[in-house]
């Protein structure tokens, strides 16, 4: 029969795959309609430049965001997640090295 443990996503499931997770049950939807601040605009500018140079697509950006471990994901702001994903993707592609980012 059904295994109740299936309700809780295993750690190997990506952060976006949270349907049915008890921690989000009946939680109000967070509505943050505020326009991006200076930091968010800079991150988005970086994303646009990398897209123009064909080093990054929004689909890759999304994958990088979902790959952030859940604890980090929920402690980062919206554009901090973008920057974390962009950084990981540029390292993954060999565009920059970790040493260069220190």
């Amino acid at each position: 029969m059904s295994d109740p443990s299936r309700i809780t996503p295993s750690p190997s499931v990506a952060t976006h795959d949270l349907g049915g997770a008890p921690r989000f049950r009946c939680a109000p939807v967070e509505r943050d309609e505020a326009p991006p601040g200076a930091f968010g605009k800079r991150v988005d500018a970086l994303r646009q430049l990398l897209s123009q140079k064909q080093l990054l697509t929004v689909d890759e950006l999304r994958r990088g965001i979902e790959a952030i471990p859940a604890d980090d994901y929920f402690s980062l702001s919206y554009y901090e997640r973008w920057l974390r994903s962009i950084t990981a993707l540029m390292i993954e592609k060999g565009i920059v090295t970790e040493e260069e980012l220190r």
């Binding site: 059904s2 295993s10 349907g19 697509t57 689909d59 999304r62 994958r63």
Partner: protein, 111 residues
């Protein structure tokens, strides 16, 4: 890459979501919700063909795949709800396999 599996499911077809967990074998991007893996449902309609997001997420060439609305009984999925409660989810064809009518009764017995 797995075979495209262009079976072309007609509305009303009973299908089973592959009980597959690519997350366990390395980086991937999967749109099929974890809670549906191994579960059976009924195809409602073809939504169209779209570039496979599993490839797009890695900047790879992304052949178009058929996307369906598939209807599931909700109570067996989350062990809650009333008979007749339903879940309607978009699932790509390469995640679906034909399931006989007899498996419909076993919808809640996955895994």
């Amino acid at each position: 890459m797995t075979a495209p599996g262009d079976a072309g499911f007609a509305p009303g077809s009973i299908v089973r979501v592959r009980n597959d967990w690519p997350e366990r074998s390395g980086p991937c991007h999967v749109r099929t919700p974890h809670y549906l893996r191994g579960r059976s449902g009924t195809v409602q309609r073809l939504l169209g063909r779209f570039p496979n997001p599993e490839d797009l997420a890695f900047g790879r060439p992304a052949p178009s795949r058929a996307l369906y609305h598939v209807l599931f009984e909700q109570p067996p999925v989350w062990q809650e709800g009333r008979p007749g409660d339903e879940l309607l989810v978009e699932v790509f064809e390469h995640w679906l396999e034909p399931a006989g009518a007899e498996s419909r009764a076993a919808t809640g017995a996955a895994s």
